[in-house]
Symmetry: C2
Subunit: 197 residues, 2 copies
């Protein structure tokens, strides 16, 4: 039946099935000793300026209820210049309200902008009874206009430095997995799990 009797479970806490599918695909590529399971719980999301703080609070608000290895993943889009990091930890809320059109109105000279996508994973690892943090970040800038239909959220207005002629919205899934903030953080988590099978 393909299942390893000694396979361990690890829970991804999210209400977003899309996120689960994306992370699960990466897990399956690596023949890990862990099986990813979706846990649709309701952790507490605080207002804070730092993504790590938000992720740790979220994890700590829920790990005792799960009582097994589990993690949360949080991502944000930070426009360091000229918006002092906005929308940052509030990325998803801001996107729902003003969208990419709104963001572009706030930037006078996109060619001089500095932006980054950041992902944070906070893991409670039961065998060590400890919490670990894994981060991934991609640097780039804001595009002059919306381009591309791949991905979601701010992808069509973000140009990564590593591929300076394309937005994230114009990359294939494979291209994006090679350089995305989320893939980077997940790879660090997978390396950790390989060392702790």
């Amino acid at each position: 039946m393909g299942n390893n009797a000694h396979e361990k479970k690890i829970y991804l806490i999210t209400g977003n099935p899309h996120k689960f599918e994306e992370i699960n695909a990466l897990f399956k590529n690596h023949f890990l000793n862990y099986k990813l399971e979706l846990k649709n719980a309701h952790p507490i999301e605080i207002q804070a300026d730092d993504l790590v703080e938000v992720a740790l609070f979220k994890l700590n608000s829920i790990k005792d209820k799960i009582n097994d290895s589990c993690f949360v993943e949080d991502a944000g889009f930070f426009i360091d210049h000229p918006l002092q990091g906005f929308p940052g930890v509030y990325s998803s809320h801001v996107f729902k309200k003003i969208g990419n059109q709104g963001i572009l109105k706030l930037i006078d000279d996109p060619s001089r902008s500095r932006a980054r996508f950041k992902a944070v994973i906070a893991l409670y690892f039961k065998p060590h009874d400890k919490v670990y943090v894994f981060e991934g970040e991609v640097l780039g800038k804001v595009a002059a206009k919306i381009r591309g239909s791949q991905g979601f959220g701010y992808d069509p207005i973000f140009i990564p430095n590593a591929m300076p002629h394309k937005t994230f919205g114009e990359l294939t899934k494979e291209e994006k997995n090679n350089l995305s903030h989320r893939a980077m953080a997940i790879k660090k988590l997978i390396d950790f799990l390989k060392k702790n099978p």
Copy 2:
């Protein structure tokens, strides 16, 4: 010594001394049986779309530590048209990042905008061992440009319907106290305290 031996204490939980002064001035006008005290605690501020939810969570995260009557006050600026309520519960964070200049860039036709200031007070009233909520709201629109130097935050870009030729930033303290969202919520709290001396 002026102090009433039977005077009771009520705690305002805030890190903002300016907010304390403003509310204390209103309390002192009313010869209440309660003395307002500042409590600089650190309640938990959650990400939620609703101001009442944020205030209740904040109060509940801290009231057991205080173990006496106490309240929190939260306010937000909601641009219902054309920004679907943005910046709303994130008003203070958004203000720090993009300011009034940023907000004005997001609004193509301010004359057709609809905006409101809202304040919410969540009170834990020890004699009843119960939580009460008091709300105040002012309707208006967004100004075409920044006007006036009174008040703070979004005041210079908000025109209340009740005084359609002035922004909140152009009102005197007395004028603002007659119609502001915060004053309205505080008056409801004061009425409650008068009925429960």
